[in-house]
């Protein structure tokens, strides 16, 4: 019962297929939405999306600006890279900061050192309202977390930015429905079907530049409840955050970041991978999931991502 005759076509390689799908999704956003925006953090997933947007729209300009919701607690290397990349592309970059929301009083921290990650939702919604965006393109992937496994490629949010898992539009074939009424918006995820491995293979194939902290480097850290926590991290403002707690031993370790986010809730992993091809190898043999190893904010409960998404998080 062995198949089969010679294929009529050789199928696309998996990276070519994923690339073609993502380009198609980006163009659907451009075709269906009147005022979309591309969320760009300087992280690896959004850098892939920028490359996909180049392939989707060049030689034209992107039909959307880039926007970063900055918690104020980002690594300087990543912020520099973000600005450099936007400038190279000649595209408009909007930055809105959680600290401004704090000043306005719309974000209130429980304590000064509370991680600001989840508060990005508030700032994002404020920016959506300010600019009247009807669609936000993001780099979320379904393999990241189980609340994401059921996420649509075009995900509908009401005017409070809420994701209602029970009230999502069925998504069939590649016929995406990005319609929304005023005030509502769509979150579009062009790399939904990519895994962490696909992202690294694509970065390798396309020879994409990345912020230096993705590669192995020496860093002062402490071990805190099983996680590696970077300490004494300098910000652009000159402020230094994440001091060690009393009794913690500072270790200088060779680490890299698998995921880049708010300093206070993103942990690095021990690694000597200092090139993309070494990272691809490391990704192939790792025994810990991307979020399991590196996100300090997803471990509070089985459902923390689902909860945050309902509240308007990406």
């Amino acid at each position: 019962m062995s198949i089969k005759k010679q294929p009529y076509h050789n199928p696309l390689s998996h990276l070519d297929w994923l690339e073609a799908e993502a380009i198609h999704i980006l163009r659907e956003v451009a075709g269906q939405c009147s005022n979309p925006v591309l969320l760009f953090s300087g992280g690896k997933d959004s850098l892939c999306i920028l490359r996909l947007a180049e392939k989707a729209f060049r030689p034209g300009r992107f039909p959307f600006p880039l926007m970063h919701i900055d918690t104020g607690h980002n690594y300087q290397e990543v912020i520099d890279f973000r600005d450099q990349r936007a400038a190279e592309l000649g595209e408009r970059l909007i930055v809105r900061s959680v600290e401004d929301s704090m000043k306005r009083g719309t974000v209130v921290l429980k304590s000064p050192d509370e991680p600001r990650n989840k508060h990005q939702s508030v700032t994002l919604l404020e920016a959506i309202e300010e600019f009247g965006f009807d669609c936000c393109i993001g780099g979320a992937r379904r393999d990241e977390e189980k609340a994401r496994a059921k996420e649509r490629i075009m995900s509908f949010r009401d005017e409070f930015g809420q994701w209602d898992p029970k009230n999502q539009r069925p998504e069939l074939w590649n016929l995406y429905n990005a319609r929304s009424h005023k005030g509502e918006n769509i979150r579009a995820f062009p790399i939904s079907n990519w895994t962490e491995m696909d992202v690294w293979q694509y970065i390798e194939r396309e020879n994409l530049g990345l912020p230096s902290i993705y590669f192995a480097h020496q860093r002062d850290v402490v071990m805190r409840s099983g996680a590696i926590v970077p300490i004494n991290v300098p910000l652009a403002s000159g402020e230094v955050i994440n001091p060690p707690r009393a009794g913690e031993e500072i270790i200088n370790m060779q680490v890299r970041f698998r995921t880049v986010g708010d300093i206070t809730c993103t942990a690095p992993v021990i690694s000597d991978a200092d090139t993309v091809s070494k990272i691809v190898l490391e990704t192939a043999t790792t025994t810990i999931t991307e979020r399991g190893a590196t996100r300090l904010d997803d471990q509070t409960s089985d459902a923390s991502m689902e909860q945050r998404k309902k509240e308007g998080y990406f």
Binding site: M1, S2, I3, K4, K5, Q6, P7, Y8, H9, N10, P11, L12, S13, H14, L15, W17, E19, A20, E21, I23, R27, E28, A30, G31, E54, K55, A56, F57, R58, P59, G60, P63, K146, A147, A149, K150, P165, K166, Q168, R169, P170, L172, W173, N174, L175, N177, R179, N193, T195, D198, T286, T287, I288, T289, G292, A293, D302, A303, E306, Q307
Partner: protein, 430 residues
Amino acid sequence: MKTEHNDSLLRFMTCGSVDDGKSTLIGRLLFDTKTILADTLTQISNTSKKRGMEAVDLSLLTDGLQAEREQGITIDVAYRYFSTGTRKYIIADAPGHEQYTRNMVTAASTANLAIILIDARKGVLTQTRRHSYLAHLVGIPHIVVAVNKMDLVDYDQNVYNKICADYLAFAKEIGLQRNSNNEAGHDIRFIPMSALNGDMLVDRLDNMPWYTGETLLEMLEKAPAAHTEQSEEFRFPVQFVCRPHASADADLHDFRGFMGRVESGDIAVGDAVTVLPNGYTSKVKAIQLGEAQLQSAQTEQSITLLLEDEIDTSRGDMIIKTGSKIEPVKQIEAFVCWLSETPLSPARTYIVRHTTRESKAKVGAISYKVDVNTLEQQATTDLKMNDIARMSFKLAQPLMVDSYSKNRATGAFIVIDESTNNTVGAGMIV
């Protein structure tokens, strides 16, 4: 001749209920292909213990959202991923109960292969019929009938053989003709397995020496990817027109690129093309993918087409090869699966989205609806969620359609309710 699938991608779906071991099967595939990493395993092992189970329950890997756990149901289609090093897989995991017909149709819409699970103790059931009918209706060309829980029938070959015979008998009734000599017809395969023990999924244990066919993973590795098996007509719906005329680069002032995805067939520089619905003709001047200039492009590639002549073309138009047969139509006849809790209202106007084109649509006649369990045709005047009916729509704008059985991309459409913007129906053109 042996087919090489060089690192390609296969999308498949699983049909069955939790009782058939569907979650266990998916969990097993992920586990045996080493997709499950240590921290996830620790997590589900803890949950297994919390729920009073002795062994690690692999079905928890596909356990859903808090909202679902609270209600003890599966709401939705979940997508899972694994890779074997030679192929990447996307699994669409849909609940199998009757009230979830819409989820099955959703999952099936992007799948090229369906695994239909049968409990060896129970044999071919009503739900097996339903799953097979839906997989057939939505045009999945490859079907793997997995006779699971063989460990519970002492790995009895006779039980397996009887189930295979029963399945083939009813498959014929619903128009699923088995492909005997690799020509026209459907590709239906059978496999005995024990998902719980991991027998015949990735590993071949010693329990069924009488089965010498392929393991499930071997079948998946060899299954043809979508669009690879037959020649298809070139269809290129225009998604977006690139006109960077304000660019500082003078060379770009006359640039006019038609951006889209090749939904089927292929195209090469120099080919004569026609742009529908207006019928303008031209030739392909260039094909671009990013910075790369291509001589030709094939199905599923997202490209930019440049034509020799200046033609007024916009999103929603379709570029085909000159001479290819496709007529703009203002009425379509289709099988429609209703997806919304709000029933279809024959008096209302809906929006039909087909490829990159939209049209207002009025409901024409509803010929009949299909009982998905008995496949009986019933007269009806309305359509509720999960119903499937043969019906027609009258269109305000012409659409360029093929029959769904010929082309899954240009034969499919969705129905949108303009007041809520919800996707309320899925159609397959007859």
